[in-house]
Point group: C2
Chain length 377, copies 2
Amino acid sequence: MKKRYILSPGPTSVPSEVLLAQAAPVMHHRTPQFAEIAKECFEGLKKVFLTESPVLIFASSGTGAMESAVVNLLSPGDKTIVIRSGKFGERWGELCEAYGVGFTPIDVEWGKAVKPADVAAALKKTPGAKAVFATHCETSTGVLHPVKELAAVTAGTDAVLVVDAVSSLGGVPLRTDEWGVDVVVTGSQKAIMLPPGLAFASISEKAKKLSESAKCPRYYFDWRPALKSYAKNDFAWTPAVNMMFGLRESLKMLLEEGMENVFARHARLATAVRAAVAALGLELFAEAPADVVTAVKVPEGIDGGALVKKLRDEQGITIAGGQGHVKGKIFRIATMGFADTYDVPVVIAGLEVVLSQLGYSFKVGSGVGAAVKTLAK
Amino acid sequence: MKKRYILSPGPTSVPSEVLLAQAAPVMHHRTPQFAEIAKECFEGLKKVFLTESPVLIFASSGTGAMESAVVNLLSPGDKTIVIRSGKFGERWGELCEAYGVGFTPIDVEWGKAVKPADVAAALKKTPGAKAVFATHCETSTGVLHPVKELAAVTAGTDAVLVVDAVSSLGGVPLRTDEWGVDVVVTGSQKAIMLPPGLAFASISEKAKKLSESAKCPRYYFDWRPALKSYAKNDFAWTPAVNMMFGLRESLKMLLEEGMENVFARHARLATAVRAAVAALGLELFAEAPADVVTAVKVPEGIDGGALVKKLRDEQGITIAGGQGHVKGKIFRIATMGFADTYDVPVVIAGLEVVLSQLGYSFKVGSGVGAAVKTLAK
């Protein structure tokens, strides 16, 4: 046997209670019985999204919810601002391109956070811009972008702020209504503690209005029939019924813990991982690291691909390597979702074993020691 | 306690083996370990689709796979033929409309099957038509359309034949390659014996070529990156990992039984349901009934809505009512997917109980008797 651990930035570990809830007998989705479950999910999602706006549920991956934002808010030829600071910021640009939506890119060096002043300047230079597309935690770099400050910038404009919070929502505070974020999209397989297969989008009144006149073609991801059905705890298309059994369970767990406690837990774990990283003489990749995923530079002379592979195939611990041009140059340890205190010594211990096998010079045990010291506080 | 049964035309009952397979620990999707599972699913799907062409897997409901066909095959302004004979045929038209694709509708009375000669005539009247959109089993009416004959009509033309087989695939023979069907789309929650949340599309060489020049905007449902990833047993976007654990299991079950035996089982059950319907003095709604779902006219003086509701809420048996303009006028009993001999007496017995409660005049027990007589053969 080999005990396996998954600490990648999605998919993440899922509680057995959630997995087993999904194994309940299938129900028909157009019944009062299922509407009760849908209602519980819709109400719970609002509390996790920290919003009073509707949160739609899609049977899709997070990319589907991102697409839904582009096609429901905009028309071909519209002007927008896209913040690109990693693979997922780039995806906003690709989506706009696919639908003929214009955008002024703000390109931020991978590993750095966007400067709100740059967004304000871009908005000034782009009169009539209808949306700003941002990323909360850029999963590919581990950077947390200043969404609160971005919302302050868009607040005085006609533009809606659309945030990809796929890897942050439910792990790092994203105060949708308090900050004034119009659309927040996320997926099920990160801090929401579900397998991949569901995606979510919260829709402010301002965003809903845009969706009524937007001309981008759409059908499966059309918010209009979805919102109509939502009002009756129903769905335009057949929902992923059994995944929603799991969602109900995971929302219950999150809300029982309390979102502020959930955020504090994530901060505690990420702080411990960063302490271990420092003790091992390794460097963080992200200038403003998110408390959900820690991106670490692969030390000189070490094969980053081999590190991730050995950790997974020999030690049974799945983390993630780098994507795009930082492939082989960074590795990423996620402590998001169903992650608790003792996941940290597991992943740091595994990392130390593999680093020493790969010939990295360090004091074996120092990383775990530093992590535990932090966690014991 | 109340033992519950689901015999609706989707979602359908799912074997516990499949539900529990989905409860296995989450795996990362970009690993050689998951690629093995993906490969098994891709290979198995080909055998169920009776094709050598790739069968893509989407995290979406069946409507998503339908949208994928429209946007990948066509450009705005293209001409197509849409066969509309129920709610799902109409969906093809709505999808074309949403994307600015032109279509000549062939409207067939609900309950009747399309005449291949009408499709041939429409193609002649629409020179340059790029696609014919058809439905195999129209779930809303229980009609099986003559796809083999339609394929013979499109074979000599430039048009691709696109078939919505959401409720038929894996239950009724659809010989994709033998007949020459270009694109077959289906969902997971019908004869494939999974919960809703996955959708599939088989793509012929002719269809793949169209997708390379089609101009409809697309991103999440774009076949081009999906096919590139498919070649490496990978996915463009995060797949619904745990549902694929279930898919591997359900495909194994289907292929162990053997597709021809699976089809024979479906025919046997539907024949027994039809025998019961006749014995109860009820009339079928479909002229050419499909061996997966039996649509029955609600007898005069009986409240069709109450029938379905009482069966579900009091007897624990979920069937479906009518949709659209036949709401309240028909009810539909599905014997598809994880349905076996003794599901028939269950649903017919329940139907008899409720019909007698509602004051319908018939010999109680005659339906079950006729069903068992048929099944005993």
